[in-house]
């Protein structure tokens, strides 16, 4: 359990990234922070492994104040996945995955063996182990990033827009993979994104932010979809424009197929035997 207790962050130039933020992130659940750029969601994420120090307030992990913990030890005990994977370009994939165990003094053979197992876990061919990050595709690099974050078997996984830099098809793949992994592993995941659909797909709990790290609404995807707290949330999830209200439509020449369209009239699937089958990845 990660708990924020009236945490604020003011940067030296006077900008307030987060103001008096209090929130509880339950263990073994995925909490997704979502909001537009500059709303403080990444700042909050990076406070959990002390990459950023709060100006006031405190953060506890399972009741222990992290301010009292050694920064380096803390970071090694928390998995971290970045947007562009952030792999070490001069090390082979297997050594990248083994980074944290090696730092913790695990023997090379053992760390590499475990790294190979992790490649299986994240759905990568073991043959890629000997390659350098540059020789992988963006999606593969991102999987290596996830494997590295899992290498020390951390309880907490921080993910900072990890799928922001890959194309939509690979992203859908990675999202599905993460959901599968989470069902197996049950980590406490904190995931930051600006994509509300990604948030709804992955989250047990969604937190929608306004500027300044203020919570606009927090709840399960269903709660938020059913009852947006205010106009801001409604517009953020697209409910105001009817994006979340689906209609059935029959067009000429479709030979009896029923289209499902959103409020903009954009087709998002077809109705067949009473089930909705998505025709494109996405909403």
């Amino acid at each position: 359990m990660i708990e924020f207790e009236s945490v604020s962050k003011r940067f030296e130039d006077g900008t307030v990234a987060v103001e008096d933020f209090s929130f509880v992130l339950p263990s073994h659940k995925t909490t997704v922070f979502v909001g537009s750029s500059g709303c403080g969601k990444t700042t909050l994420l990076r406070m959990i492994n002390r990459m950023i120090e709060p100006s006031s307030g405190r953060i506890t992990i399972d009741g222990v104040d992290i301010a009292g913990r050694n920064k380096v030890e803390l970071r090694r005990s928390i998995g971290y996945v970045l947007q562009a994977a952030g792999l070490l370009p001069h090390r082979k994939v297997v050594d990248n995955v083994a980074t944290v165990p090696l730092l913790q003094g695990v023997s090379k053979t053992e760390a590499r063996g475990r790294a190979l197992d992790l490649l299986d876990t994240v759905g990568l061919d073991r043959a890629l182990a000997k390659r350098y990050p540059r020789q992988l595709s963006g999606g593969q690099q991102q999987r290596v990033g996830v494997a590295r974050a899992l290498a020390s078997d951390p309880n907490i996984l921080l993910m900072d827009e990890p799928f922001g830099a890959v194309d939509p098809i690979v992203r859908a793949d990675l999202q599905a993979e993460l959901n599968r992994l989470q069902r197996e592993l049950g980590k406490t995941i904190v995931f930051v994104t600006h994509d509300i659909d990604e948030a709804f797909l992955l989250a047990d709990q969604v937190v929608i932010f306004r500027k300044g790290g203020i919570i606009a609404q927090a709840g399960t995807p269903a709660q938020i979809l059913a009852e947006p707290a205010d106009d801001f949330v409604a517009s953020f999830i697209g409910a105001d424009k009817g994006k979340r209200t689906l209609h059935l439509q029959q067009r000429e020449g479709d030979e009896g197929l029923t289209l499902v369209v959103d409020g903009d009239g954009r087709p998002i699937g077809v109705l067949r035997d009473g089930t909705l089958e998505p025709e494109v990845p996405g909403p």
Partner: protein, 253 residues
């Protein structure tokens, strides 16, 4: 052309390599002196410039100051500096030590700017995201420097060392003005004796030495080329070709 041939003849005359021949000979003694002055100055310069460059590159602190300061250092004429230091140290130090101290300091000052620039520019060229990731994974600042920044900056660091080495090898020639040895001795005696073989022969020796050392650096840079950074790393390419007659399909599946 005749002059050059004659100078080359002078260099390759075995009599000029015999130990115990008349000053400024034998050539190998001057060559060794030249290398000794160069190596000594470079080691001292590296001990100052590399840690400072790493500090600036890692922390980003003091960058502006150091850039302007080293820029000013580059503008110092080494010969003028040498004479000035000889005067200063000649006042305090003995007749024997003043020239070597003065000359070494001049060469160190000559070598520092290139090395420093290579070190901090190298560290600054490392992708910020890579460093951020290393830190977030729990590397200490020292581990970030030694395991991420320096390996990734190595080509530029070596480039700085290489430039500094060439400058110093060429400039150590003026050590003879301070009454020291080195290949410059051959040139100065040539000027004194009006002997073109000595002047040109000495100059050719300095040039040859500089080119030889530069080639060694080129080789070192190639051998230490960070794998994973250069796509067409020559050693890797050779290996691939040996194993399969045809180049492999692009690896980014």
């Amino acid at each position: 052309m005749d002059l050059i041939l004659s100078a080359l003849g002078w260099i390759f005359d075995p009599a000029h390599w015999e130990s115990g021949s008349r000053s400024p000979l034998p050539i190998q003694d001057r060559l060794l002196e030249h290398l000794r002055y160069t190596a000594g100055s470079l080691v001292i310069a590296a001990a100052i410039a590399l840690p400072l460059g790493f500090y600036i590159g890692h922390t980003g602190r003091g960058r502006q100051f150091v850039i302007s300061f080293t820029g000013a250092m580059r503008a110092l004429p080494t010969l003028g500096l040498l004479y000035f230091l000889l005067m200063v140290f000649g006042y305090w130090l003995s007749f024997d030590t003043a020239p070597i101290v003065g000359a070494t300091i001049s060469f160190v000052i000559l070598a520092i700017p290139s090395m420093l620039a290579g070190a901090y520019a190298g560290l600054e060229s490392v992708d910020r995201q890579t460093i951020d990731a290393a830190r977030a994974n729990g590397m200490t600042e020292w581990q970030i420097l030694s395991r991420v920044e320096i390996p990734l900056a190595l080509p530029l660091i070596l480039g700085g060392l290489r430039a500094a080495t060439l400058q110093v090898i060429a400039t150590v020639t003026i050590a003879s003005y301070a009454g020291l040895g080195g290949l410059g001795r051959i040139i100065t005696s040539g000027i004194g004796l009006n002997d073109y073989d000595l002047i040109l022969g000495g100059a050719l020796l300095v040039t040859g030495l500089a080119l030889f050392v530069d080639a060694l650096f080129a080789l070192a840079q190639r051998l230490t080329a960070t794998p994973g950074l250069t796509e067409n790393h020559p050693a890797a390419r050779r290996r691939t070709i040996k194993r399969s007659p045809r180049p492999r399909a692009p690896e980014n599946a």
